[in-house]
């Protein structure tokens, strides 16, 4: 990165802009706090869950599928970082760099295939599992 080029773009507008945005948000929140009416309703202290009285805490365990997504993201987003670095310099690197990234991509694709087959990319309910669970439930009856 050429140092002189950086200097031609003044950064202060960005800071001013950011400052204005932040204060704008602050003003909006502050104004609505000041202007808003005060009141208390009977059900206002309960979470709204479709009109049904809330049961238990919302700090529940959820499907590990969400963690899986997080991991997938971590894996592939970090790969993006490498592709990004290549993309910016790929003209200098030429076919040699292309080959390198191709190898990298092949690895990515292999990982993707593996995950696909392992069911990491299946987000919906798994029919087979449900069926198995259903059969297990039925067994004691027989």
């Amino acid at each position: 990165m050429d140092a002189s080029e950086v200097n031609t773009v003044p950064l202060w507008p960005l800071l001013v802009y950011g400052g204005i945005v932040l204060s704008l948000v602050g003003v909006i929140l502050g104004l609505s706090y000041v202007l808003g009416q005060r009141g208390k309703g009977r059900a206002m202290t309960e979470p709204y869950e479709g009109g049904i009285v809330s049961e238990g805490s919302a700090r529940i365990r959820f499907s590990s599928q969400f963690y899986m997504v997080a991991m997938l993201f971590v894996i592939f987003d970090v790969e993006t970082v490498f592709i990004l670095s290549w993309a910016i310099a790929f003209r200098e690197l030429g076919w040699y760099g292309y080959a390198g990234v191709a190898v990298f991509m092949v690895m990515l694709v292999v990982v993707l295939i593996y995950e696909w087959r392992m069911g990491a990319l299946d987000f919906g309910p798994d029919g087979k599992k449900i069926l198995a669970a259903y059969k297990r439930m039925q067994k004691p009856a027989i």
């Binding site: 773009v9 950064l11 104004l31 808003g36 979470p47 479709g50 997504v69 003209r91 993707l112």
Partner: protein, 320 residues
């Protein structure tokens, strides 16, 4: 830079003013357009053609009770809507509306955009989690999963443009499209970016985190008043942002025949995309969560990789 010393204060003020108003106007436009397509009136009481409905709405929102639920995690609850507004507004910094009309001509503009757009996921997950409401939490989890997934494809799809332009600077990317707008060579990238953009803004039809019919507004169930308003306006600004990005990256930005000034070309293109967004809302059903995710990971991701390799090969080949 064409002008010797652009008046930055003017630009800053202009961008902020226009964007906030565009978002506000969009609310009215959308409601009117939807009404038109659905063969009903839409807002028509406040002002001519119901034009003042937005103003009325926002005044109402200001005066509504500033309710922070006692069961919530309060600081986070307040912070969440602020994040969405700040991150989207900050993203506009790097968009070259026209030659010289850009707040900060960063040479990592594209990365700045990506960074800011991933901030959006925070607002959803923090808001949903702080609400301490099961539906909100579910919405937040889904939203986060959706947003971070599509973040990946979005970033990878953009790489095609970067390969062709050889820069992360959005102004240079626009300049690089002088001969040919990138949506022709990068049609695949464009489609992926477009889809990912919708998902990123959790805009209909991909409004899974807030799906009214399943999750009763999802992550912002517990929000009201201006805090809800900020989520609301944030969404419209997000649409605008994605439209601007689409135009900048794939449709030549301000470029256009000389008979109109560049800024006008830019506005025309953006408005066209805004209309498409609204049209999409009117015409598409919402997919299931798992369908959306599987579509992303199983179809879009391989496609982006293919797109990337082909683009790079072609570029290298053309340049000898």
């Amino acid at each position: 830079m064409e002008t010797a010393a652009p008046n930055y204060l003017l630009i800053i003020g202009g961008v902020l003013f226009v964007m906030l108003n565009v978002a506000a106007a969009l609310i009215w436009v959308e409601r009117r357009m939807l009404a038109l397509w659905q063969d009903r009136y839409g807002p028509n009481r406040a002002g001519p053609f119901g034009l003042l409905i937005v103003a009325a709405d926002s005044i109402k929102l200001f005066f509504k009770q500033d309710w922070v639920p006692p069961f919530s995690d309060k600081p986070v609850f307040v912070l969440a809507p602020a994040i969405v507004v700040v991150s989207v507004l900050l993203s506009f910094v790097v968009i070259p509306f026209a030659p010289g009309i850009i707040v900060a001509d960063l040479n990592i503009g594209l990365l700045f955009f990506l960074a800011m757009s991933s901030m959006g996921a925070y607002s959803i997950i923090l808001g949903g989690w702080a609400s301490n409401n099961k539906y909100s939490l579910l919405g937040a989890m889904r939203g986060a999963a959706q947003m971070i997934s599509y973040e990946v494809f979005m970033g990878l799809a953009l790489m095609g443009v970067v390969l062709m332009a050889g820069s992360f600077n959005l102004r240079e990317i626009v300049e690089a499209q002088r001969g040919l707008w990138f949506f022709i060579p990068q049609i695949l990238g464009f489609v992926i970016f477009f889809i990912a953009g919708i998902a990123e803004t959790h805009r209909l039809p991909f409004d899974i985190p807030e799906a009214e019919s399943e999750l009763i507004a999802g992550f912002h169930s517990e929000y009201s008043g201006m805090k809800f308003g900020m989520f609301f306006i944030g969404e419209y600004m997000g649409i605008t942002l994605i439209s601007c990005m689409l135009v900048t990256l794939y449709f030549g930005g301000w470029l256009g025949p000389d008979f109109l000034p560049p800024i006008v070309w830019f506005i025309i293109k953006v408005v066209a995309f805004l209309m498409i967004f609204i049209l999409l809302r009117a015409s598409m059903p919402r997919p299931r969560y798992d369908q959306l995710m599987e579509f992303g990971w199983k179809i879009l991701l391989p496609l982006t990789l293919v797109n990337l390799m082909i683009t790079a090969a072609v570029v290298l080949w053309l340049e000898g």
